[in-house]
């Protein structure tokens, strides 16, 4: 091999681009030619340094994002990005509405049932099972009938008159229903032992029941739940509630 045309051969040999038969020829030549062997050694040394050109320049993260954004699907992605929160908010709203609505419905159904108890008692031929205006007669009557005890205020000297009492059941719970009259109006005093499901059904409230238009006042005192139901004016109901609260603290 003559050195005059060996230049590209040496590079190709070094790059492993020569077919085997020609590579052998170059290899033999390198063994005998000082100039070519030092030449190829120089190229090899430089080639190693040239690998440092790899990763010499790095793109900025910002530029990468820019190109990435440019080539990624803008429509579908942005559609998702925009609609996801709206969808989530919408679903949450529906759930919350349903939750509140169901809660309200359950509550107002419970108060409607209590109003029924009140109406039932009034329309019944025997309004009360124990007829007495004396709280010391009415209260002992419940002993053994209900699994709890309650206190009654002194009605003498107030606008209220105790008519009597009866036993009722509400959501499978036994309770006491007292009928108190105020002028021509009757007020039902319903007393139950507190429990989780009753607490959920009978939240504390004061005012008119929207479904029945009866005045309602409900509260919790110790382990008892009191509900007053009446067609009397709210102030009259509220006053009775205060009397009951005083003796059942």
């Amino acid at each position: 091999m003559q050195c005059s045309y060996a230049a590209t051969m040496l590079d190709a040999y070094l790059d492993g681009e020569l077919p085997p038969d020609r590579a052998v020829v170059v290899q033999e030549h390198l063994g005998s030619c000082m100039r070519c062997s030092s030449e190829i050694a120089e190229i090899a040394r430089m080639q190693r340094s040239l690998r440092n050109a790899r990763g010499h320049y790095a793109p900025s993260a910002e530029f990468r994002r820019k190109v990435q954004k440019q080539i990624s699907r803008p429509k579908r992605r942005s559609w998702l990005i925009w609609t996801m929160p709206i969808g989530v908010a919408f679903a949450t709203t529906i759930l919350l509405t349903a939750f509140v609505w169901i809660g309200n419905a359950r509550r107002s159904a419970a108060f409607a049932e209590l109003a029924d108890l009140h109406v039932n008692a009034l329309s019944s031929t025997n309004l009360v099972d124990v007829v007495s205006t004396d709280r010391h007669t009415v209260k002992p009557w419940f002993q053994g009938k209900i699994p709890f005890s309650f206190n009654l205020p002194e009605f003498n000297g107030t606008q209220y008159t105790l008519v009597g009492g009866r036993m009722v059941y509400f959501h499978q719970h036994p309770g006491a229903q007292l009928i108190v009259s105020m002028n021509q109006h009757k007020i039902s005093v319903l007393i139950f032992q507190n429990s989780v499901d009753l607490g959920r059904a009978l939240t504390e409230q004061t005012g008119l029941d929207r479904r029945t238009s009866f005045g309602i006042e409900a509260w919790q005192s110790q382990q008892l739940r009191f509900v007053l139901v009446s067609d009397a004016d709210p102030a009259g109901i509220d006053n009775l509630a205060r009397l009951l609260k005083q003796v059942n603290q």
Binding site: A7, D11, E42, R45, M46, N52, G55, H56, F63, R73
Partner: protein
Amino acid sequence: MDQEFFEMLAMPLFDQLFNLAQWLTGNRTDAEDLVQETYAKALKGFKSFEEGTNVRSWMYKILRNTFLTSRTGLKVQNTVLLEDEFDGLDFAAHNITPELHLLQLENSHSVMNALAELPVPYREMILLSDMEELSYKEIAQVLAVPIGTVMSRLSRGRKMLRQALLAGSPGRSTHAM
């Protein structure tokens, strides 16, 4: 072919393409423009890409062609290449180099500087071969030239680079632009 597939194939090449782009253009701003345009063109022409062929070579080809039509690239096209007159040239002038000078060949800083000064046709040869380690055949495809041209231009480029380094002036090119 789908956009997501393109993204999956092309994005891993991002760093390599940017590096190559800045070696070609010589500055960051032009490199960013070049890479951005390359990705836009590649996405547009992705239908013409045949699955199973080399994505890297395909992207390099687009980048290189885009570069040639850019401002810097147009200047390069006017450069006169000497490869046809090359074979056999300069060899008589080569002597055994003293070891001290040879160390220049291993000085990464000098080599990088000398490479940046090399005329683009030779620089891109060395980048594709010694940096990206493409085969002669792949380089021939990327540059759309015969393999013989790859061989002579690469050999010439390496020689110019070596001479620039051994002359001790990394910034000096032996080749007139």
